[in-house]
């Protein structure tokens, strides 16, 4: 068949077995493409299962509020009918009662879970739901209103019913609001939380501030070191390289503990200063378990992430460029500023981005040395993941962090250009 076709259209090249060359070529290309695909399949699957899926799951969790709606569908219907200025009507009580008793029969656990979720919006819901669920069996209604108030007097207070307003939709931005010290009122207007409970905005600010200071400090410390590394004769630079890498290979915890010993108020640095008479023993410096501690320790830990990219870029700059610039009349300073430094920008950019991104999500160091005012948003994410089980809030904070990093990357691309970046 193929043969007769080929004969019918003269001018088409044929292979030995008579198939057109184009087809045969495509076939073999497809095979090699397929083989290439198979090779990238493991990392692709790895990415999908360990990166795309969890992050997608996190994004979903940060806006998901279906659980409460699954437990209290009729209650929310009645809630919408209620005018919110009068006392909650009997129909609302009845709807709540039926919702809870129905869910108790279907899946007892959902009630407990819903209670835990509702407690995020108004502390006290958990026990209110728990007590009610236990005692609803004995309620002989209707009417339910009096019976429920009998069980717990909170049922007579309007504020509890009003707080349902913030949970009435399947999708919510409540967790994101919570992450920036805002919340919904019963009408889903966005309002600020109480002044003395504002904590997240401060932490966001502090996280950015620490990341920024650490990045700058790393840059200032790393640049001369990298320059030395790149320009010293081999035997010295090797030794220096080992000095840079040694801490990098040392356990994180060991380094943190070492800093604690150095910097605490009864530590080596303070003892030395007091011993030399520079400080009074009353005025020992507070360099640990606070903001300073976090900055100092994080700078030291992240320093190699700055040194290595800058070094690898500096290594490729021929020394003859500087000599040429000076030959042409530039002073050493001018030659450095105009010829050498611009060429190191790709390394500096890579180092800064690397350090900043690692710093912004840092967790273990602030946890150990942060004390009262050196803890960052990463610690809050961990706290809500592990302690309060408020995964929605943790997910919202994670999403904001992710967005911040993407924006930063985008800004970097606009200003410096990502193609320019050299990781080493």
């Amino acid at each position: 068949m193929a043969n007769s076709e080929a004969v019918a259209t003269p001018g088409v090249l044929l292979t030995a077995d008579g198939t057109p060359l184009k087809v045969s070529l495509q076939k073999s290309l497809r095979r090699s493409k397929l083989r290439a695909m198979l090779l990238v399949l493991p990392p692709l699957l790895f990415l999908v299962f360990l990166f795309v899926l969890p992050i997608g799951n996190m994004l979903l969790r940060s806006i998901d509020d279906s659980l409460v709606n699954q437990v209290l569908p009729t209650t929310f219907k009645e809630f919408k009918a209620w005018d919110k200025t009068t006392d909650p009507p009997e129909s609302l009580y009845a709807a709540f009662y039926t919702d809870i008793t129905r869910t108790l029969e279907e899946d007892k656990l959902l009630v407990g879970k819903a209670g835990v979720r509702m407690n995020y919006d108004k502390p006290g819901w958990r026990s209110l739901i728990k007590i009610s669920a236990r005692k609803f069996k004995k309620v002989e209604g209707p009417p339910y209103k009096e019976a429920m108030i009998e069980i717990d007097k909170r049922w007579g207070e309007k504020e509890w019913w009003l707080s349902l307003g913030a949970m009435k939709d399947e999708r919510t931005l409540g967790y994101f609001l919570n992450a920036v010290d805002k919340k919904y009122d019963f009408d889903k207007n966005i309002i600020s939380v109480d002044e003395n409970r504002k904590v997240y905005n401060l932490l966001w600010y502090r996280t950015l501030l620490v990341s920024f200071i650490v990045t700058i400090a790393c840059l200032v410390l790393a640049y001369p070191v990298s320059y030395l590394l790149a320009t010293l004769p081999m035997r010295f630079s090797n030794l220096l390289m080992i000095c840079v890498l040694m801490p990098f290979w040392t356990s994180l915890l060991v380094r943190i503990v070492a800093w604690m010993i150095m910097l605490q108020q009864q530590g080596v640095v303070n003892d030395t200063l007091v011993g030399l008479g520079i400080l009074d023993t009353e005025n020992r410096l507070a360099m640990m378990y606070n903001f300073n501690g976090t900055v100092i320790v994080m700078t030291q830990i992240l320093l190699p992430f700055m040194i290595l990219p800058i070094y690898s870029v500096m290594k490729t700059i021929p020394p003859s460029f500087m000599r040429a610039a000076q030959n042409l009349g530039a002073t050493p300073t001018l030659a450095f500023l105009r010829v050498y430094m611009p060429q190191t920008i790709p390394g500096v950019g890579a180092g800064c981005i690397l350090v900043f991104i690692v710093a912004i999500g840092y967790y273990i160091t602030p946890e150990l040395v942060g004390g009262k005012d050196g803890r960052l948003i990463g610690n809050m994410v961990a706290y809500h993941m592990q302690r309060t089980l408020n995964w929605g809030l943790a997910a919202a904070m994670g999403t904001i962090l992710l967005a911040a990093i993407l924006i930063l990357y985008w800004a970097y691309d606009k200003i410096v250009g990502v193609d320019n970046m050299k990781m080493g």
Binding site: L109, G112, Y120, R197, V199, E367, G371, Q386, W391
Partner: protein, 359 residues
């Protein structure tokens, strides 16, 4: 269809897990001297199998991940009071058949042999422990601190204070120090003004505070002189005094007692063995035996009686009773933490506390 697949996966995962660990029971606890005491008192005396101890840092995050993904590897977990409640509400723990547990020697059923009311059917008794202030002998000349109010009094007892980075117990202590009667603490805490009052008291020591978050830290802080007084877990102080001969003095006033429970994770891979282990571990004899190795108070009344009669009870021949947080002599001046309150208001008070710390 989806549930069928899910269940099949779950079943195969469980089968694989139980084959892999050959029915050793995985017990998750806090590590250090505490796990060691459980090892000696519960695991070494148990003939039903081998126990693998796993350390964790508390919280329900890991357990929830295991239960939700259907790949449970933990069997028994040692949990704090509010986790014991929230975990049971969330269905992360199995509700246990209460009839299988051993009654006290006098025949009292286990659930009536407890020092606190049983919060739910998921938990079985472990210990009572407390947050308590302490200092090193010789820190203060003249008068020595004897009340919780002294802990908050920087003028009378100068020097830094070590406090933890979460609000539990601190709110209660601040109120007691401010003159609230111990019986009224949780009533006062349930009002906005009460919380304000607690924070006003905390303000007095804030600028003199060093914050700790791991249990060994307060001892280092006090030992190194970094702080003059610190709050700590009573067991840590006791262990240092009883086993290492440290000269720490505990201020037995206004301490806050917390419960500790054992639970069985839902879908535990070695359920049968784990249940057998729990029955063994919660028996009066084992509960009392644990106090040979650590000065945490057993939750069972009958075990407490055994220790009292058996003094000197500690394994190196020292008396343990004076280090027990729930001995009758100090109970009158102790706050028994109300985990229901903390399960409800813990998150919101924590937010405020975190804000307060960072300001």
């Amino acid at each position: 269809m989806q549930t069928v697949i899910k269940q099949t996966l779950l079943a195969s995962a469980l089968a694989a897990a139980s084959v892999a660990v050959q029915a050793d029971v995985n017990v998750v606890s806090w590590g250090g001297a505490y796990t060691a005491s459980q090892q000696k008192a519960y695991a070494d005396t148990w003939e039903g199998g081998k126990v693998n101890f796993v350390n964790y840092n508390g919280g329900l995050g890991e357990i929830r991940t295991q239960v939700e993904s259907g790949t449970v590897t933990w069997d028994v977990v040692d949990v704090l009071p509010s986790e014991a409640r929230v975990g049971c509400d969330e269905g992360l723990f199995e509700e246990l058949d209460r009839s299988i547990f051993a009654p006290a020697p006098d025949g009292t059923p286990m659930d009536d042999d407890l020092m606190v009311p049983l919060p739910n059917d998921c938990v079985v008794p472990q210990i009572w422990w407390s947050y308590v202030p302490f200092y090193e002998e010789g820190t203060f000349s003249g008068d020595q601190p004897t009340t919780i109010a002294d802990f908050f009094d920087i003028e009378k007892f100068p020097g830094k204070r070590g406090i933890h980075t979460w609000p539990n117990a601190l709110i209660e202590m601040a109120l007691v120090a401010d003159g609230v009667a111990i019986a009224d603490v949780y009533d006062v805490m349930s009002t906005e003004e009460g919380i304000d009052r607690a924070f006003a008291t905390l303000d007095k020591i804030k600028d003199h505070s060093v914050f700790w978050s791991s249990g060994s830290k307060p001892l280092e802080l006090v030992k190194s002189g970094e702080v003059a007084m610190s709050l700590a877990y009573n067991g840590r102080i006791g262990a240092a005094v009883l086993s290492e001969g440290e000269k720490f003095v505990t201020v037995w006033d206004g301490q806050v007692l917390e419960e500790e429970w054992l639970v069985l994770v839902k879908g535990a891979p070695n359920r049968e063995e784990a249940l057998d282990f729990l029955v063994h571990a919660t028996a009066t004899e084992q509960q009392a035996g644990q106090a040979r190795h650590i000065n945490y108070g057993p939750m069972r009344v009958s075990a407490f009686a055994v220790i009292e009669e058996g003094e000197p009870w500690f394994h190196n021949g020292k008396n343990i009773m004076e280090h027990m947080p729930n001995r009758p002599a100090v109970m009158e001046r102790s706050v028994v933490a109300n985990p229901e309150w903390w399960a409800d208001y813990g998150d919101s008070v924590s937010e405020r506390y975190t804000a307060w710390m960072g300001q």
